[in-house]
């Protein structure tokens, strides 16, 4: 490989050709501060618009300062990273950025993990010499995402995520000069845009210009209401990441502490969305077999490949961008909604209470789940199946707010009957997990044989698009997997063109799947964090005595006592849904609810 030699701060450096000054400096232990720059190593994408100018350095012979994130090393270059000129420039530019950023740190939800705060601290900003007029944008509140452009520093990371990675195309810079901001087409509210609520923009925002909708207070209100029974369901990915906010290493499983914390908060029952994941497999697996059976018998009307429908960001994406393919989506509801439907029917009946007095709170790694819970088809007479959905970071905040010492909590188990799950339900939280869980059950239902090797390694991994063929005793079932909507777009384009080789496709909207969801503690594009979370889920799967959804005794009991057959009439009523062509709806522009 061709290399170049240069000098950075009097140190001799040799790097491969094409390396930026920023990376070259890092290789010899020189940390240049950055703000807009973001490297998504495993997604092979860098956000480096060269816009913030914080990473500038001096290069001998060059007239002006150079952005180190965007300037390639050249043979013989002499770079200085902390001359008075450089330091003054960084400080002045930082003061400019701060001069147009509300000084609300103490009440900002990014307080303590804000990248702008860190750099302001590192650069020793003690006064802002260039105070002046500040931007005044209206705050845009959608069911999932809140956009406060007054805090925006125009790093454009959200645009990169929304356009280059997710290919959703909801966010773009608008206006000029001081009035420039990231907004939607025609500056509509988020709710009237093509946003899928995946929340990846929120997960990379270095400040708090984009944040998740905060619904902690309704949870506290419900817990304080003696007339209500309040139950929790926790998604699998939450337990791998919640600990991060309490100082645990990435990927540490804190299931037991989480359950204890929820009990301390006052939840009457703490259940597991994994139970509903097992239920989803029963329905979705059965549906897949039904579709496959028809398909193998030559039925041309059946929609193959069947696409998973657990991920509300993905469902929105299909409804908005590919509504003509919405019938390829499994009609099975997502685990969150299956849980809500069962809780408010089956469990309410067990308790002998009206569904209106049962409050279902979901704890999700996801922002889109808030939107999903608010979809009108997921309610009965105006009473939603899932009343409130909060995300992982919100739960961490609630735990702190209630002065619960999370680290010292003992482990405890989920309640029954909706808290028991198999390993299959656990791996729902990572890319490839849903389809692997489905295979475990579908294989046995299809072949009527016992599956001995339950680990489908070929379905795992972090590659953006993966495929595998699973042998169902002579019937090769072709499976495609994508995580990240940009990757999903490639698979669905194939479906659209009629060239898709697959029978089933699993899609999760977020890179890494739910473990990388927009509601998780921020991973800032560090994929090793996601890998650790995935490993934790697979470990939990191995630790479970039961690893196939249909073996879950509480699932069996549910069907026996209440639901009847998978995909039967009652199951259909409670556990399946339909999809809407939202190209139209986005066009009509629905005004959003302005309350927070």
């Amino acid at each position: 490989m061709e290399t170049v030699k240069l000098i950075i701060d009097k140190k001799q450096v040799e790097v491969s050709k094409g390396t930026t000054i920023l990376d070259a400096a890092k290789s010899v232990g020189i940390q240049i501060p950055t703000l807009c720059y973001m490297k998504l190593e495993d997604l092979h994408y860098e956000n480096n618009p060269g816009a913030c100018r914080i990473c500038v350095v001096e290069i001998e012979g060059r007239r002006n300062l150079a952005p180190s994130c965007k300037t390639e090393c050249i043979e013989g270059m002499v770079v200085k990273t902390h001359t008075p000129r450089v330091m003054n420039a960084r400080k002045t530019v930082m003061e400019l950025i701060l001069s147009n950023h509300p000084a609300e740190c103490l009440t900002c939800s990014s307080n303590g993990h804000c990248e702008l705060q860190v750099i302001a601290h590192d650069l020793g900003i003690r006064e802002i010499r260039y105070a002046g007029e500040q931007s005044k944008f209206q705050i845009d509140r959608s069911p999932s995402i809140v956009r406060n452009m007054n805090k925006c520093i125009m790093c454009r990371r959200c645009e990169t995520m929304c356009n280059s990675i997710q290919t959703v195309g909801a966010l773009t810079a608008v206006n000029r000069g001081f009035n420039a901001a990231v907004s939607t087409a025609f500056e509509r509210d988020i709710a009237g845009s093509t946003c899928s609520y995946c929340g990846q923009c929120v997960s990379v925002c270095p400040v708090n210009a984009l944040s998740g909708r905060n619904t902690q207070q309704p949870v506290l209100d419900a817990l304080a209401d003696p007339a209500k029974i309040v139950i929790a369901q926790t998604a699998p990915a939450v337990r791998t990441a919640l600990g991060r906010d309490f100082g645990f290493e990435p990927g540490t499983l804190v299931t037991g502490k989480m359950v204890s914390a929820l009990r301390q908060l006052g939840f009457d029952y703490v259940f597991d969305t994994d139970f509903a994941a097992d239920l989803t497999i029963m329905e979705e697996g059965t549906e897949l077999l039904q579709r496959l059976g028809k398909y193998l018998n030559g039925d041309e009307k059946v929609k193959i490949p069947m696409m998973t429908s657990c991920c509300p960001g993905w469902v929105s994406f299909v409804e908005q961008h590919f509504p003509e393919l919405r019938e390829n989506l499994s009609t099975a509801k997502s685990p969150q909604q299956m849980f809500g439907a069962i809780a408010k029917s089956y469990f309410a009946k067990i308790l002998g209470i009206d569904r209106k007095n049962l409050v279902v709170v979901s704890i999700m790694p996801c922002l889109a789940k808030k939107y999903e819970a608010s979809r009108p088809e997921f309610s009965v007479d105006g009473n939603p199946d899932v009343d409130i959905s909060i995300y992982t970071r919100e739960l961490a905040r609630l735990i702190r707010y209630a002065n619960i010492d999370f680290n010292e909590l003992p482990d405890s188990d989920f309640d029954h009957p909706l808290g028991e799950s198999t390993g299959a339900g656990i791996i729902f939280g990572t890319t490839g997990g849903v389809i692997e869980a489905a295979c475990r059950t579908a294989y046995e239902l299809f072949t009527k044989k016992v599956l001995h090797k339950v680990d489908f390694e070929e379905l795992r991994g972090m590659e953006g698009i993966r495929s595998a063929t699973i042998d169902f005793e002579g019937v090769p079932v072709k499976i495609g997997i994508a995580h990240g909507l940009g990757n999903a777009r490639k698979l669905i384009e194939e479906v659209k063109n009629g060239t898709s080789p697959y029978h089933a496709i699993e899609v999760m909207a977020c890179p890494g799947g739910c473990i990388g969801g927009g509601g998780q503690p921020f991973h800032r594009g560090r994929m090793e964090v996601l890998r650790k979370r995935a490993t934790a889920l697979y470990q939990e799967d191995v630790n479970k005595p039961l690893r196939k959804s249909h073996e879950n005794p509480y699932i069996q009991k549910l069907y026996k006592e209440f639901l009847g057959e998978p995909c039967g009439p009652l199951a259909h009523k409670l556990l399946h849904t339909h999809y809407i062509d939202r190209k139209e709806i986005v066009g009509l522009y629905m005004q959003t609810d302005k309350r927070d």
Binding site: E72, T92, G132
Partner: protein
């Protein structure tokens, strides 16, 4: 076919059209017919003559009589007197303001005498909507020569040897740019003409496109031949409807003549041109922003490298040159690099077109050899300062440039001298200021523009320019402190040092150059809360000297806010609370009784 003996050239540039030159053309045609001369006399609508101050301009060929400030009603007289009776219409001739002599012929008018027209060679001479007239003046000969007699390398060498540098502002050697684009291997390449002229007051590109569009078409084809591109794109402001119209006609005619399209001159070289419209964003004159805008993306600059020559439009190598640069190409090939490089200074060859504006007598479009001094331009061609006032400064390079002063008047104009003096060539805007202009207010004026035109991508330009403007606002309203001056300079230096593109890097130039040259004016605003030029309204108060006031009541009657009271024949008084400091009273007072403090 008619054999004309006489031609009447009427300026059809945007400025003269605004002064009814279309109506003049109509009336002249009618008058020609009325007098039965239609077989001998042709009325031709040309491009800009440049002498906008005296427009609309009508020129008689073959005797070159130059009529100025012609009205539509003058058409009959012009035809009857000049063409039928052979007598000059003396009242429409140009009068030399110094000698009061009538001048018959444009060649003897100072404004033209000192110019050398290379890029503007055809403007005002030919009908831009007729390809035959362009061809009659050696049009498309250079293209033919390049394609049939020269290799691309030879053409590029000729351009390199000529020493031509980019006329859009940067001054990058044109031949070298072509060579870089040529050397990059790619399946597709583009040549682009940057016609997104955005400097306030500059209109050289518009005038060339309006007056001589074929020269651009020809030069782009030559560029395509050299760089290996078969597609040309003209990025032009949609607010230039006349230029767009004439360019479209030129492209259509060139296609009909086989000078554009497939297999030009049977050489196997094919070239086509398309037009792309700009929405008038100043930043889109920056080549990366221009390319993004053409791609349908947001018009904002990206960090270079990669340069467009390597990775431009849709990722393909793209050679971007400015209109005026292109206008020089055919002449260089016809007359040779040696001829071209004999004009100008050591490092800046050829001529430069300037849009002369501001407080100068002869406002207009001029072209002079590089190396001409500012004094020659402003006082020789420009005819000196209006109303006999004193020269104070000249802003070159538009909002990105700086202001130059008395001490720079004998500076030969070229790229490097202007840069060294703290300004720049830019696209050729030249705004002259007199003793009544406040330099702090001037800097603020230009900042107004850059704040408006910043794309908002990088922090120093987006926020920094806004803050510069706010500080200037504070100073011009009398609230500035010496500390503000330090902050102003530091911020200006940092923006220059850190902004992403040329717009941001040069936007503090007006501040820095006025601080360097007119620091005393800044100090007067800050220390004495006084604007020496009485331009800053918040620092100016109008008074009436009771000893001089005759009580004629004129000031009271013209005051738009009724701030002046007083009885007839009794000295009047201005109510400072009401006064909006418009200065009308001072302008109107016949007794010099109104003064400012």
């Amino acid at each position: 076919m008619a054999q004309y003996t006489n031609y009447i050239l009427v300026c059809g540039g945007t400025g003269c059209r605004a002064s009814q030159s279309e109506k003049i053309i109509g009336n002249l045609k009618a008058a020609v017919e009325k007098n039965g001369l239609q077989k001998n006399v042709q009325v031709i609508r040309t491009g800009c003559f440049g002498f906008c101050e005296k427009g609309p301009v009508v020129k008689m060929i073959p005797d070159n009589t130059f009529y100025v400030q012609v009205q539509p009603g003058d058409a009959d007289e012009l035809v009857k007197e000049h063409l039928v009776k052979g007598r000059k219409v003396e009242r429409l001739l140009y009068v030399n303001p110094e000698t009061n002599e009538q001048i018959l012929d444009s060649k003897h008018i100072d404004f033209y005498k000192k110019q050398l027209r290379v890029a503007l060679r055809n403007c005002g001479f030919i009908n831009p909507e007729n390809i035959d007239e362009y061809i009659a003046r050696d049009g498309y000969v250079a293209l033919g020569k390049a394609i049939t007699e020269m290799t691309p390398e030879e053409v590029i060498k000729e351009i390199m040897d000529s020493g031509l540098r980019g006329r859009g502002g940067g001054g990058f050697p044109t031949g070298l740019k072509w060579q870089i684009t040529r050397k990059v291997q790619a399946s597709q390449k583009y040549v682009v003409c940057n016609a997104d002229e955005g400097d306030p007051g500059a209109f050289m590109d518009r005038s060339i496109l309006e007056g001589d569009p074929h020269s651009i078409v020809e030069a782009m084809a030559i560029n395509g031949y050299c760089t290996g591109a078969n597609k040309g794109l003209v990025y032009i402001r949609a607010e230039y409807p006349l230029a767009v119209e004439r360019l479209m006609i030129a492209i259509k005619q060139a296609k009909e003549y086989g000078l554009l399209g497939d297999n030009i001159f049977g050489s196997g070289f094919s070239f086509d041109i398309e037009i792309r419209y700009g929405a008038g964003a100043f930043v889109c004159g920056e080549e990366t922003a221009l390319i993004h805008s053409m791609e349908g993306l947001r018009g904002e600059a990206t960090v270079k490298p990669p340069f467009p020559s390597e990775q431009g439009y849709k990722g393909y190598p793209t050679n971007v040159n400015n209109v005026e640069t292109y206008a020089n190409i055919p002449v260089i090939l016809l007359k040779g690099a040696k001829w071209f490089s004999s004009i100008g200074t050591e490092k800046s060859k050829g001529t430069k077109v300037f849009a002369l504006a501001g407080k100068v007598n002869n406002v207009g479009l001029i072209e002079v050899p590089m190396g001409t001094t500012l004094r020659e331009v402003i006082f020789g061609i420009g005819g000196g300062i209006k109303d006999g006032k004193k020269f104070k400064a000249v802003q070159t390079g538009g909002p990105s440039g700086g202001c130059l002063t008395e001490k720079h008047l004998d500076l030969p104009i070229d790229y490097d001298n202007l840069l060294a003096a703290g300004s720049m060539m830019g696209s050729g805007g030249m705004i002259v200021m007199d003793e009544n202009d406040c330099m702090v207010a001037m800097a603020k004026f230009y900042l107004d523009f850059t704040v408006e035109e910043s794309c908002g991508k990088c922090a120093p330009c987006r926020i920094g320019n806004k803050r510069l403007h706010e500080i200037l606002q504070k100073i011009t309203s009398g609230n500035g402190t010496e500390d503000d001056l330090d902050r102003l300079r530091n911020l200006a230096m940092v923006i220059k040092d850190t902004a992403l593109c040329g717009l941001g890097q040069t936007s503090p130039n007006p501040v820095l150059s006025t601080m360097d040259n007119f620091y005393d004016e800044y100090l007067a605003h800050v220390h004495d809360h006084r604007c020496p030029s009485h331009q800053c309204r918040e620092l100016t108060q109008y008074y009436i000297n009771p000893e001089k006031c005759k009580g004629c009541t004129l000031c009271a009657r013209v005051c738009p806010v009724h701030a002046i009271t007083g009885d007839r024949k009794v000295p009047h008084v201005i109510d400072l609370q009401v006064c909006i400091r418009c200065g009308t009273c001072m302008d109107k007072c016949k007794f010099d009784a109104v003064y400012v403090h």
